[in-house]
């Protein structure tokens, strides 16, 4: 039977990486509003603080920390601090990622780095978070992946292939973690309006960006947060190993 509470996150404790700005921030604020206590981590310590402050000021429960997801010590600290400061860990949003478009003759360091940032960080976080989620009786993991995991383009060898690996990692560890009452899913965002984008956007630029988007507007960070909320909520309790593309129906990603 339909129960509106199934679409909320009461009693959940979520760790969100890259939550200092953009999509990560929208997810953090949405999860907090939906009842979760949230650990805000970001490479930018100030940004993480600001988000945690904003959530706290709105009556939510939040802690914050600095986290470089390519560093083992930081990942351990992020999981440990979440449990220490917020009592447990039931929800993981592996949002920090990137690597950037790179020319074909990039250095091998740059190529490896995309995998460090997008693939290895998710796998290691999943390993560290799983025992905590088991202790709490189960949990949900969500990775923000990319349409670049399916699309093909110039300059996307490192980023695109790493996101394809991310997608297949999600599909596989869903099998490992399902028996431990942990679900794993992904959200693949289309072009999303962020503060940096908004400051320079005009109709021409926006139209150019939306050539291949049937729902003719840019995505908002809130669009991503709403999808993330659904996939992490009890309403999605029989959904695992899936990648949900949130792109206004578009198939061409920005870069």
């Amino acid at each position: 039977m339909y129960n509106p509470v199934d679409f909320t996150l009461g009693n959940e404790v979520a760790l969100i990486t890259g939550a200092g700005a953009g999509i990560g921030r929208a997810i953090a604020e949405t999860f907090a509003a939906a009842g979760a206590a949230v650990m805000i981590t970001d490479l930018d310590a100030d940004a993480a603080k600001d988000v945690a402050d904003a959530i706290t000021a709105n009556g939510g429960r939040a802690a914050h920390g600095t986290c470089n997801v390519t560093k083992e010590a930081d990942l351990k600290a992020a999981v440990g601090d979440t449990v220490d400061q917020l009592g447990k860990l039931t929800t993981l949003v592996s949002n920090a990622g990137g690597g950037g478009p790179k020319p074909f003759d990039m250095s091998m360091d740059d190529f490896r780095f995309a995998y460090d940032l997008n693939v290895f960080s998710l796998f290691r976080l999943a390993q560290l978070a799983a025992p905590e989620m088991e202790k709490a009786g189960g949990g949900s993991m969500l990775a923000i992946t990319s349409m670049a995991g399916e699309n093909k383009n110039q300059r996307m060898a490192s980023y695109g292939s790493s996101k394809a690996a991310t997608n297949h990692l999600i599909r596989n560890i869903a099998f490992d973690l399902g028996p431990r009452r942990i679900r794993v899913n992904g959200v693949a965002p289309g072009a999303t309006r962020t503060a940096a984008l908004n400051s320079v956007l005009n109709d021409d630029i926006e139209n150019a960006m939306l050539q291949h988007t049937p729902i003719h507007r840019l995505g908002e960070p809130q669009d991503m947060a709403n999808a993330a909320l659904f996939l992490c909520s009890p309403a999605a309790s029989w959904i695992s190993g899936q990648i949900l593309t949130v792109s206004g129906g578009g198939v061409q990603e920005l870069n």
Binding site: G18, A21, G22, L43, D44, A45, D46, K49, D53, T56, N68, T70, A96, G97, G98, G99, G100, P101, P103, M106, S107, D109, D110, R112, F113, A114, L117, S146, Y159, A191, T192, R193, T194, A196, L197, S199, V200, L201, I205, A208, M209, L218, L254, N255
Partner: protein, 547 residues
Amino acid sequence: MTLRKLTATVAAVLTLGGAAMAQERLNATESDPVTMQWMQGFPPPPDKTIRFTDPDYFAFPKLRWTVCHFRELMPSVAVPTAPGDVTTLPRALDPNIDNVTFSPLGGDATMTWEEAFDYNYTEGLLVMHKGRIVYENYDGCLDENTLHGAMSVTKSLTGLMTEVLVAEGLVDETALMADLIPELADTAFGSATVRQVLEMTTALDYSEDYADPDAEVWTYAEAGSPLPKPEGYTGPRGYFEYLQTVEQDGTHGEAFGYKTVNADVAGWLVARTTGVSAAEYLSNRIWSRIGTERDGFYTVDSIGTSFAGGGFNAVLRDMGRLGQLVLQNGKWNGEQVIPAAAIERIRKGGNKDAFAKAGYDLLPGWSYRGMWWVSHNDNGAFAARGVHGQTIYIDPTADMVIVRFASHPVAGNAASDPTSLPAYQAVADYLMEQSANPTLVGQPWAVEDVDGAEVIDNSNAHLVFTADGSLTGNATCNQIIGSFVDTGEALSIGQTGTTMMACPPALLDQERKLLTILAGVTGYEIDETGTLTLTTTDGETLTARRR
């Protein structure tokens, strides 16, 4: 803060004893109030409950909770900010400040700024340089939004207010207190001048020797406590009544004697002169005019008199704003909020000979003026100081303000001075050196040109090189996450990735160019104007300047 706190602290220190305590006491991590579980739960368990009436509520380790919670334990009066008028303090965080090393006083070993943070039981530490926050860190009971007791730093606020009245001609510093506050005519203060009160060279039959159970400080504590008095109590009730009982012992003006009652006399003088309470005057004149984020609060006695000798509470950044106002000789955002002359009087310092008689071994050559501690060092640094490590340290030469909130187990600053005063000097030296001869590693470099083209207006492109070899910053739209190696001969940038935020074409172009050049960087130069030029083998350049 009432003096009951000091009573409790000192009692605890005496009980535990100095040397034994140094070896056995909990370190900063172990004594963290969250770890200790003070006041957690509704209700907290009996053995984890802290009450104002506990004899040890302001003794270590309970003190580490109490410093952030005075307002829950005792009545207070607000020093209102001006809502809607907050000035955001600019930030240019320098991750390398943590690595600044110094030699603690009286030792050979070195210590880093980062190590000293915990060693001194610090809750909050802020460094401002050229008006920008270059370091900010919190621990224990404190965060950005939590108020902390300023202890005797309060005296310096009282002194500052009084110096403002002197500078404006509303108070004659040579006048006898008897002529300004007739109620004090028959007390020790009656025959003292305003200047003597402000420099604490009054000769008072008043002891702040906590080891002496008959010391007057205990009577003062009892008078100032807002708690009900015991049956049959006939002594003074409140600060005003107590101050009228202090008798003279000796000749005013000869020796410095650090006695809190002087600050409360000055607070009385502020109120009597201005016709409003010290709390209200502080708000009207200073607190509401320097963009503070939060109200400050004074603890009060049983009739609501603010404790001008030690009762102020505020958030760390607001104390930073106050320090910055003093550093800027009273100017804030171009407006002369308080007269420069008031601060010049303080900076000039007091009578060094009178100060030397008080025997502060760790503060040789210092003096006390306008209720501020003046170092007379080469940089002309001066400070507000309070027990357990509170400070506002102002270094005009380095254009630096340091604010520290702490809860060192030992009340007297002699316990934390060896690992704080040289650390402040080392950071001042580091910041001055960075200004004069900037190094690659340090504060953010704002990118100005990408291969000869000026960056797009309001671009957030900047680079931060950290001593651990990591490179962060922003490539225009996206955060940079990367690494670098500087051999001294050559600079190479390791992998550089960015986040993947959507970015319109013009900014994306700039970002791509910046990242392409960055990947090919083989060398750099910082010229005499402080401009950083990063160069590739193809001769492409990125130029940047410190913000």
